[in-house]
Structure formats: structure tokens, C-alpha cells
């Protein structure tokens, strides 16, 4: 067990940044949170304990220190790992359905609703006379009217 602890320490020591720069750290973390870890695929590179994630965070850090913009670093990652690495799916031809699907669903639903509403209007209605209304009201006094 102690071996594991020590191994962890050794690996981590390599990963802990040499220069302490909180602003850069913050920028690295923010960008790392938009990238998916390829080993622990349900986590971001910022959160994943995998070694590859640590290496990629280091790479991001270096690229930032070299002056690359966030956009350029993302392109760098996508060039190597494909769109899969982006936590937020990009907007491309093949993802148009993904991004506009929800809107389509909503419009389709509202459209069907609207159609139904206008259709129903045409249905005939049974009207009650005043006396009937009054009698009905009297009979129903004991019952609760406002059940949701």
C-alpha cells in the first residue's frame, strides 16, 4: 500500500508545476474543463486522475506559455484526437441535427398543439340552460370543486 502512495507521490511530483502562477493555472483549468479525457472517458482532462490527463494538462500549460490562444490549443487537441476530445460537441454539418434538434422538437410539438387547438374549436358544444346550471350547482355543493 505504501508503495502505491510513494508511486503516486513520485508521479505527482513530476506533474506539479515548477513555477507557481495562479492565473495561468486558472486558465489551464478552465480550458482543461472543456476537454474530455480519453482514458477516463466520462471525465474532463481537468478532473481525471489518468496519467494522460496529467500529460495533456502539462501540454496545455506549455502551449499557453508559448503564447497560443485557447482556440489554437483546442485545434491542436482536435488534430490529434478528433472531435471526441471536445466536451462540447462542435457545430458542424453532421451535428446540425444535434444542436437544432431540440428546437425542432419544440416547434413540432407547439405546432401540433396549435393544430389541435384550432381543430377542437370546430366541435359542437352542448349548452346548458340556467336552471340546469343552478340545479347542478346545488347538487354539487358537498363535493370539492377545485381538485387539481
Amino acid at each position: 500500500m505504501l508503495v502505491l502512495l510513494v508511486m503516486n507521490v513520485a508521479r505527482a511530483a513530476e506533474s506539479a508545476p515548477a513555477v507557481h502562477d495562479p492565473q495561468l493555472d486558472e486558465r489551464v483549468r478552465a480550458l482543461a474543463e472543456t476537454l474530455r479525457c480519453l482514458v477516463c472517458q466520462n471525465e474532463t482532462i481537468a478532473d481525471s486522475p489518468a496519467e494522460l490527463a496529467t500529460d495533456l494538462r502539462k501540454q496545455i500549460r506549455e502551449k499557453m506559455q508559448q503564447g497560443l490562444s485557447d482556440r489554437e490549443i483546442l485545434d491542436y487537441m482536435v488534430a490529434r484526437y478528433g472531435d471526441f476530445v471536445l466536451y462540447r460537441p462542435p457545430l458542424k454539418t453532421i451535428t446540425i441535427l444535434l444542436w437544432f434538434g431540440p428546437l425542432l422538437f419544440l416547434l413540432a410539438g407547439l405546432g401540433a398543439l396549435f393544430y389541435r387547438l384550432t381543430q377542437r374549436r370546430k366541435e359542437a358544444e352542448v349548452e346548458l340552460s340556467e336552471t340546469d346550471h343552478a340545479r347542478a350547482k346545488a347538487l354539487l355543493k358537498s363535493d370539492d370543486n377545485e381538485i387539481p
Partner: protein, 674 residues
């Protein structure tokens, strides 16, 4: 011996389920009373034998019988007793057994609480549920037998995944499954209605309490899962839009739409075919969720032992059950008819809009969850859809629904007046706007989303207050106490559930909007400031637990110099796992959680520590609890209980005696619907 007994019990249960399904459904179709009467005892029989099987598996776990393959894979001689018990559902095979046990329990509940239902209805409902059970029992016996033996018997088991060795493991799956499986009741009622051709307001009244209770359990189950991942996984997240999480959230969304739709069908007899379709959708999504989790089709941290062969079985089962239901629906729906009409501005139309929004949301979550699979299947490349997508599309869809939540309950059935509503709600709106703006300024930096969230949450509460006030002041003459008692339980349930949603929205909005997270390198003596809180790293040492070794840190949290809490985050190394587990230390509070976890070690006394200040995070789950409580009250409304039903039937029978009486009876029903 015991495992064999369990397996035999399962086989018996399957036989009973098969017999029941065939006899009761055929009996209902032919009007054969004797066959239909098989329904209730057969339901009990199934439950008893599945319970026996369940007991056998639990016995094997408790007694550390590693000759049973499933026990060996999910247990260990060092595993504490409570986790040996929970380990029964800690893996694929055992969780299926839990599924069938709970389905059996629901069947018994239906057979007990359905004395007033016509025999053919009961027969059909139980018959459909039995068919579902046949599917799951076959699945177990043919592909995922929890009682498979292992030779040679291993000396020790592989251990239950340490992530699952937690009190929440005892509660989360059973509660969640109770909800999941409970939607099979609404489904069965829907299919029974389609089969019998009797689809009216009475059918909705019968279905409603069952659906509400299932929904309640699902709400609690999801909330439990969320709390668990929050304190267990170590990063402070509480929802990840993971495929398995989505698999439980989609039925919840559709289930919520269903309980609202059932309200309309019960009150006004409209939306009948739509309600039936929703009931089918809700259960279809439950089954789809079962498929997604166990087939290996999607990547998920929750996924069970993935095996495409098992996937084929579930997919076939899913296709038969849901495909069959949808085919039945398509065939029979045309005869159902439209029901009463209503104005474009009315409670009905608002509830229907709520439905459209919820179903669109569920559809969008499904789209996002399955899209990578879609593209991959069409050989169009590989993408991944993460939380940023879901958050972007979900919030705009839900915001209008939240707004409607304020207006809907105040609208009249059939025909409401917008000017009238605006008049009644003008103060509620003003208060919401003012509170949202004030809070946004008071809390400091704030975004549009935060303001919107607060506005909607306060709006719901304010509008509910208006609704309550109007209700109380409507009954003339009576005392306040009488007026309060005059409102039905279902009414209070609705108010409570809606307020629960508001509380939930406040929690989510403020947590996401104002949470602060810092990753700092800390050694003994290091302090770090977050807002008004100071965190001081005291020490870290090595400790040994029952089945792990851990780095145990001590961090003091102070506010204005006073010690608030002493926190002990850990990094645990379990013998059976490769990577370490992060045990976060949390100081919970009504208005904020302080969340501390260990990251990577730098040297033996220096660690990277993640410090988080999470405002109002407890409100997220508090809101869910209120929602569930609201559901509980609504389901217990007196009109579902026998005496009231008898009285109403008598009233309507008396009215129906003459032709004029019949007209009055119709009038009475219509009046009552207002």
C-alpha cells in the same frame, strides 16, 4: 444447496408469470371469469418465489459463499455486513433480481388496492405486468443467472467496488428501481385501456395515484444518486449528464408530463390518446434505460458489466414490448376520439404546453445521449456529447415551463382569460422581479442566468401564494381552519411539489452561479481564503481502514477567526482497486457547503488540495424531497380512497335514474370539472 433453491424459485416464478400472462389476457379478451381470477393469486405467487430467490442470494452473500460466481465477483471476506447485503444489487445479475422483486411487489400492491376495479381491468393490468416480468425473468435465467456456480471455488471474492461501499448503496438502487419499475403500472393501465377499448376519465382516475407514487420514488431515487455522487466522487459535482443518469432522468421528465396529462384526462376526459402514449413512453424510456446501462452501447461510469450478447436480448425484449404497444396504440388510438374541447387560453392548453416542453426536453436529452452512437453507426465519425450541450438546450426549454407553473394552477378549465390572469398575478410578478433584481445586486457579481433562475423561482412561490390565498378566501363564512381543511390533499400536494421545484431552481441557480473552486498546494500551516472562509492545512497522516490504506488529512475551516469545522479529506487505496479513491470532506450548511478534497500529492506532507465553496447546494436535493412529498400527498388524496368513490358513484347513479337526471348528471360532471 441454497443457490440451487434460488434458481429453482426463479424458474417457478417464470412459470407462474407465463401462465398468468397468458390466462389473464386471454381470459379478459374472452370474458372468462375463471381465467381472469388467476390474476391476483398468480401475482402473489410470483412475488413470493422471486422473494425466495432474492433471499437465497442474500443468504449466499451474507455467508460469503464464493462458490456462487456473482457473490465472488461482488463480495469479499473483509466486506462489512451492510455491504454484503447491498452487494446483492451491486452488479448486473443481482440488480435484475432486484428489478423483478420490485415488479412483483408492485403487482401485489395493484392486486391489493384494486378491489373496486372491474375484473377484466385488473386481469389485463396484472397480465401486462406479468408479461414484463416474463421478459426479465427469462433474461436472468437464460443470460444473467445470479446463481451460476464457480469452480474451483476461489479463496476470496473480488470485492464490491469501493465506490459502492457506502450507505447510499443500500437506498439508492431500491428506491430508484421502485420508481423505474412503478411506471410499468401506468403502462399496464394504458395497455389494458387500449385492449379493452375503455379509455375514459375513470381510467385516468385509477392510473393516477399509481403513477404519482412511482414518480415520487423516481424523484427520490435520482436525488439520492445525485447526493451520493456529490459526496462520493470527490469533485463536488452532482449531475454529469452521464448516459446512465440521463437514462433515469428521461423517464422522470416524461413521467412528470404524464402526471399532468392524467390530471387533465381525469378532470375533463380530454388528451386521452396523448396520455396513453405518454404512459407508453415513460415505461419505454425505463426499458431503454435498462438496455443502455447493460448492453455496452454507451460509455458510462455507471454501466454494468457490458456484454453485447445480453444487449441483444434486452433489445429484442424492448422491441417486442414497446413496438407491440405502439402498434396497438396506432391501431386503437383512432377510435379513442378527442374528448371535450377547450380554449387556446385555458388550463388544459397550459398543461398541454407543459407536456410539449417536458417531452421536447426528454427528446433532446435522448438525442444528445444517442447522437454519438448515431454518427458512429452511420460511419460519420466520432464525437462526444458532454454537459455543455445538455445545459445549453435544457435550460431554455425548462424556463417557459417554470413560468407556466405559476399561471397554470390559477387558470380556469376550458376557458381562461389572460387579462384576468394578469390582473390576479400582477403583484406576484412585481414581487418576483423586484426580489430577483435585489438579490442579484446583493449577492454581488451575477449573470443573466442567475437573475432568470431567481426570477422564475420566486415567481413560482409568489404565484402559488396567490393561488393559496384565493383558495382560502373563496369559501365564504367558514372559519380559516375549515377553509384550510376544505382544500384537498391533492391541492396541497401540488403546491408543495411546485414549491419544491422552486427550491430546486434556487439551489441550482445559486450553486452554479456563485460556486468558488480553488486548487492549491498546501502543506502543514498553509492557509487559503475563499470569501469569508479561511482553510488551514494542519497535517496529513497514514491510516488503515477495514479494507484500505489512506492518506488522512486534517484541514480546519475558519470564519472570522472562529473555527467552523475540522475536515478530514482522504485519499484511499483499496487492495482490490488500481486507482485511488478520493473521499471528500464536507461541512454541510443550509446556505452553503464547504467541500474539501485531496488532489495529487507533491511530497509526503504536501498535497494539492481542492477547496470549494458551494452555496445553497442542499436546496437542490431539498427541492427534490419537497417534490416527492408533494407527490405523496397528492397520491393520498381522499378521492382515491374507497369511501369517497362509493359516494360519488351513488350520487351519479341517483342522478342517472331519469332522462332529465341523466342530463343533470352530465351537467354535474361538467360543473365538477371546472
Amino acid at each position: 444447496m441454497v443457490p440451487e433453491l434460488g434458481q429453482f424459485a426463479l424458474a417457478l416464478a417464470l412459470a407462474i408469470a407465463l401462465t398468468q400472462a397468458v390466462l389473464t389476457l386471454a381470459g379478459a379478451a374472452r370474458g372468462n371469469a375463471a381465467w381472469m381470477r388467476v390474476a391476483r393469486p398468480a401475482a402473489l405467487g410470483q412475488f413470493i418465489f422471486v422473494a425466495i430467490a432474492f433471499g437465497c442470494l442474500m443468504y449466499s452473500f451474507i455467508n460469503k459463499d464464493f462458490s456462487v460466481a456473482f457473490v465472488a465477483a461482488n463480495s469479499n471476506s473483509a466486506l462489512p455486513l451492510q455491504y454484503r447485503v447491498a452487494g446483492v444489487w451491486g452488479g448486473h445479475e443481482g440488480s435484475l433480481l432486484l428489478w423483478t422483486l420490485i415488479l412483483g411487489a408492485w403487482m401485489v400492491a395493484v392486486s391489493v388496492f384494486s378491489r373496486r376495479l372491474p375484473d377484466d381491468m385488473v386481469a389485463r393490468v396484472l397480465g401486462v405486468m406479468a408479461l414484463v416480468n416474463v421478459g426479465f425473468l427469462s433474461f436472468m435465467l437464460f443470460t444473467s443467472n445470479p446463481f451460476d456456480r464457480l469452480f474451483p471455488v476461489p479463496a476470496d471474492g473480488r470485492d464490491l467496488n469501493p465506490l459502492l461501499q457506502d450507505p447510499a448503496m443500500v437506498l439508492h438502487p431500491p428506491v430508484l428501481y421502485t420508481g423505474y419499475v412503478g411506471f410499468s403500472v401506468a403502462f399496464a393501465f394504458a395497455i389494458a385501456a387500449l385492449l379493452s377499448g375503455r379509455l375514459d376519465a375513470t381510467w385516468a382516475r385509477w392510473s393516477r395515484p399509481w403513477t404519482t407514487v412511482a414518480w415520487m420514488f423516481l424523484t427520490l431515487g435520482i436525488a439520492l444518486g445525485s447526493v451520493w455522487s456529490y459526496y462520493e466522487l470527490g469533485w463536488g459535482g452532482w449531475w454529469f449528464w452521464d448516459p446512465v443518469e440521463n437514462a433515469s432522468f428521461m423517464p422522470w421528465l416524461v413521467g412528470t408530463a404524464l402526471i399532468h396529462s392524467l390530471a387533465v384526462t381525469e378532470k375533463r376526459g380530454t388528451f386521452r390518446s396523448w396520455t396513453v402514449l405518454l404512459a407508453i413512453f415513460a415505461f419505454a424510456l425505463s426499458l431503454l434505460g435498462t438496455f443502455l446501462v447493460r448492453s455496452g452501447v454507451l460509455t458510462s461510469v455507471h454501466a454494468f458489466a457490458t456484454d453485447p450478447k445480453r444487449g441483444i436480448f434486452i433489445l429484442a425484449f424492448l422491441t417486442v414490448v414497446i413496438g407491440g404497444s405502439l402498434a396497438l396504440f396506432a391501431w386503437r388510438a383512432q377510435r379513442i376520439g378527442l374528448g371535450g374541447s377547450f380554449d387556446p387560453v385555458s388550463r388544459e392548453s397550459m398543461l398541454l404546453t407543459n407536456n410539449v416542453l417536458l417531452v421536447a426536453a426528454a427528446g433532446s436529452v435522448l438525442l444528445g445521449t444517442l447522437y454519438p452512437l448515431l454518427l458512429d453507426a452511420l460511419d460519420l465519425g466520432k464525437i462526444s456529447v458532454g454537459p455543455p450541450y445538455f445545459e445549453t438546450i435544457f435550460v431554455p426549454l425548462m424556463a417557459p415551463a417554470l413560468f407556466l407553473m405559476g399561471i397554470g394552477p390559477l387558470s380556469r378549465w376550458k376557458k381562461a382569460s389572460l387579462p384576468n390572469l394578469a390582473l390576479r398575478l400582477r403583484w406576484a410578478f412585481a414581487v418576483s422581479l423586484a426580489t430577483a433584481l435585489l438579490l442579484s445586486f446583493a449577492l454581488g457579481r451575477s449573470s443573466l442566468w442567475v437573475s432568470l433562475g431567481l426570477l422564475l423561482a420566486v415567481w413560482i412561490v409568489a404565484a402559488s401564494a396567490v393561488n393559496f390565498w384565493e383558495r382560502i378566501s373563496n369559501f365564504s363564512g367558514a372559519s380559516v381552519a375549515a377553509r384550510l381543511a376544505g382544500a384537498s390533499r391533492a391541492y396541497y400536494g401540488m403546491l408543495l411539489a411546485h414549491i419544491g421545484v422552486a427550491v430546486f431552481v434556487v439551489g441550482v441557480t445559486l450553486e452554479k452561479g456563485f460556486e468558488i473552486q480553488k486548487d492549491v498546494r498546501m502543506a502543514p500551516g498553509t492557509t487559503e481564503q475563499i470569501g469569508a472562509y479561511t482553510f488551514r492545512f494542519e497535517d496529513v497522516e497514514q491510516v488503515t481502514g477495514p479494507n484500505y490504506v489512506a492518506a488522512h488529512a486534517t484541514i480546519t475551516a475558519l470564519r472570522n477567526g472562529k473555527v467552523i469545522a475540522v475536515l478530514h479529506p482522504e485519499k484511499r487505496f483499496y487492495a482490490s482497486q488500481e486507482s485511488p479513491m478520493t473521499e471528500a470532506a464536507i461541512d454541510p450548511g443550509f446556505t452553503r457547503d464547504l467541500y474539501v478534497s485531496l488532489g495529487d500529492p507533491v511530497d509526503s506532507k504536501t498535497w494539492i488540495v481542492r477547496l470549494q465553496h458551494k452555496p445553497f447546494v442542499l436546496w437542490i436535493w431539498g427541492g427534490c424531497v419537497l417534490m416527492a412529498l408533494g407527490g405523496f400527498f397528492a397520491a393520498g388524496d381522499r378521492r382515491y380512497r374507497v369511501e369517497t368513490l362509493r359516494k360519488s358513484i351513488a350520487t351519479h347513479a341517483a342522478l342517472g335514474a331519469t332522462a332529465a337526471g341523466a342530463r343533470l348528471a352530465r351537467a354535474a360532471v361538467r360543473e365538477k370539472s371546472r
